[in-house]
Symmetry: C2
Subunit: 71 residues, 2 copies
């Protein structure tokens, strides 16, 4: 079976926690030993299981910050 290698390099923040203990987090994640990217995603408590999410570039993250501060 194919597998994705990943490492959560830095936990930047937690947006929410649901009833099952899964957390929606902003992290720096390295995928397949590549340089880490920002990643907004749902994770199980132990980071063993991941849910849906988005990988964001530096530019997208700073643009998102601008947008949120302009709201």
């Amino acid at each position: 079976m194919a597998s994705i290698k990943y490492e959560v390099i830095e936990n930047i923040g937690v947006l929410s926690t649901n009833k099952s203990g899964w957390q929606r987090e902003l992290n720096l994640v390295s995928w397949n030993d590549r340089p880490p990217k920002f990643d907004l995603r749902d994770w199980s408590e132990d980071h063993e299981k991941m849910g849906k999410g988005l990988t964001l570039t530096n530019e997208e993250l700073s643009k998102l910050k601008e947008i949120l501060n302009d709201m």
Copy 2:
């Protein structure tokens, strides 16, 4: 075939545009006529096709703003 009814109520901002014209956007989207929710997602230029994304609660969005401003 099953379908999802959705309406982009407000385009809050664009994070990026890729070579194919798809945009990563923060929107207020109403799904199946329910009250609109914040939604971070990839969309084709005409909003006819959607890619992966996350629906965010008000609380998650304001927490995300806090996190980004603390970085």
